[in-house]
Symmetry: C2
Subunit: 292 residues, 2 copies
Amino acid sequence: MRIVEVGPRDGLQNEADLVPTEVKIGYVERLAAAGLKQIEVTSFVSPKWVPQLADAAEVLAGLKLPDDVVVSVLVPNQKGLELALKAGVKRVAVFTAASETFARKNLNRSIAETLADYRGVVRAALDAGLSVRGYVSTCFVCPFEGPVAPEAVVQVTADLLEMGVDEVSLGDTIGVAVPPQIRTTVGAVLKAAPAERLALHLHDTWATALANVWAGLELGITCYDSSAGGLGGCPYAPGAAGNLATEDLVNFLERSGYPTGVDLARLAEASRYLAGHLGRTLPSRVLGRIGA
Amino acid sequence: MRIVEVGPRDGLQNEADLVPTEVKIGYVERLAAAGLKQIEVTSFVSPKWVPQLADAAEVLAGLKLPDDVVVSVLVPNQKGLELALKAGVKRVAVFTAASETFARKNLNRSIAETLADYRGVVRAALDAGLSVRGYVSTCFVCPFEGPVAPEAVVQVTADLLEMGVDEVSLGDTIGVAVPPQIRTTVGAVLKAAPAERLALHLHDTWATALANVWAGLELGITCYDSSAGGLGGCPYAPGAAGNLATEDLVNFLERSGYPTGVDLARLAEASRYLAGHLGRTLPSRVLGRIGA
């Protein structure tokens, strides 16, 4: 079972107090030491939008990671891609939404406009030898529109795959989805895309994330995004709080018979290292249970 | 979907500081006001074992509840049943385990001895016009023995039903079960007992309880035990902490299309009323999100 660790990007982007660059580097290196093989390290969005990640290039330059760890960075546009190329990353991620209102409020464009903009970005990334991941926000429920039509998720997923994205991560951005919605929407997407091209990006706002993972496993989904300690949320989505914690996911998958390759004790060290710098505890239930 | 609220018994029995009788009464009355229709109010175990519940008779005498609320009390033996009869309750519960080591350490008898002892208690209860619920601890994993054989759970469930218990609640006492175990063990039990005679009693120690509820729903289980606020655990089981929170369960069921009849805001009032007296917050994630 694959885990994409998104704490350093999706988690940290919600932290108001700037975390020093060397702490971010120490955090990512500890995540890799715990056995995580795919880590979204940072984002080349404008520092005006996300000041926390303004040191993206410095973090990437300072990292010492094992060769088999795949680093990805979020890029919103051609300029972000150029910075990512300059930083030498091999994998980038683009992001859009399945809900028009969320896209307009979060990305300042329609869904179609984001896809049109990304077409050139993805092409350029592929031409430069990079691989590209795609995120789709609000696949199940939009904080502004309510339930999202599965057809909208199917369409944007198909569009992303068609332009050369190799994996689409379907996001429950505000963490209110429940298994029947996972089944309906992901089931619909699976008619247009193979399971191995899909990931689930769940938030645990209402304690439903692992139930949704189970629903995903039943559908054959083999990749899950999570954030060490449960750090994170979405700064632009009212009510969003807390990515699914990597500790909770690892424990759940391992006990359910799906090896992850992640060492829980070392993962907890990574989370506690960051929590110590943030000066607060992180919400992962499993983190709270395993020995300090 | 039926919910059996066990906070006043399974939750409170773990609280070291004695809660005043009038607070317990206020707590139970608020739980009923939130729409909970089945409440396990207390236990007639020896006050030496559980000093917190030594005021069982006083709590029951002081309660003013709507007529459609079914109150149950835990009784460990004939003496407990006599006290329950004297208190005028209409429903009692007996408890055993699926793991021998747990039974010996927790109940000071073998499983067979507990069942032999209960045969007379259940007979007397039924003769007096009461109904009887049965709890089976450690149905999935024993803190001393590890994984528990499904056959053991099938046997003890069949024995309890055969002696006249109308519902058997299958307990994940230390909260480490995952959906594959729910599927295997409950699936085995369902070959010997109809779904409407079974309940799941889950703990959320490792954040897996709602995933296990989903696995139970898929098997046709329609009754779930939970504790308002997530109060509770098992004082005799190392590592056990936190019943599945009723708030988390209600939100999950309602969003999944299973009406519960419970008003979440009023339920939160009941949990906060008790939390105020305990002087600490309760672990339910949903409780932490809904307006105070």
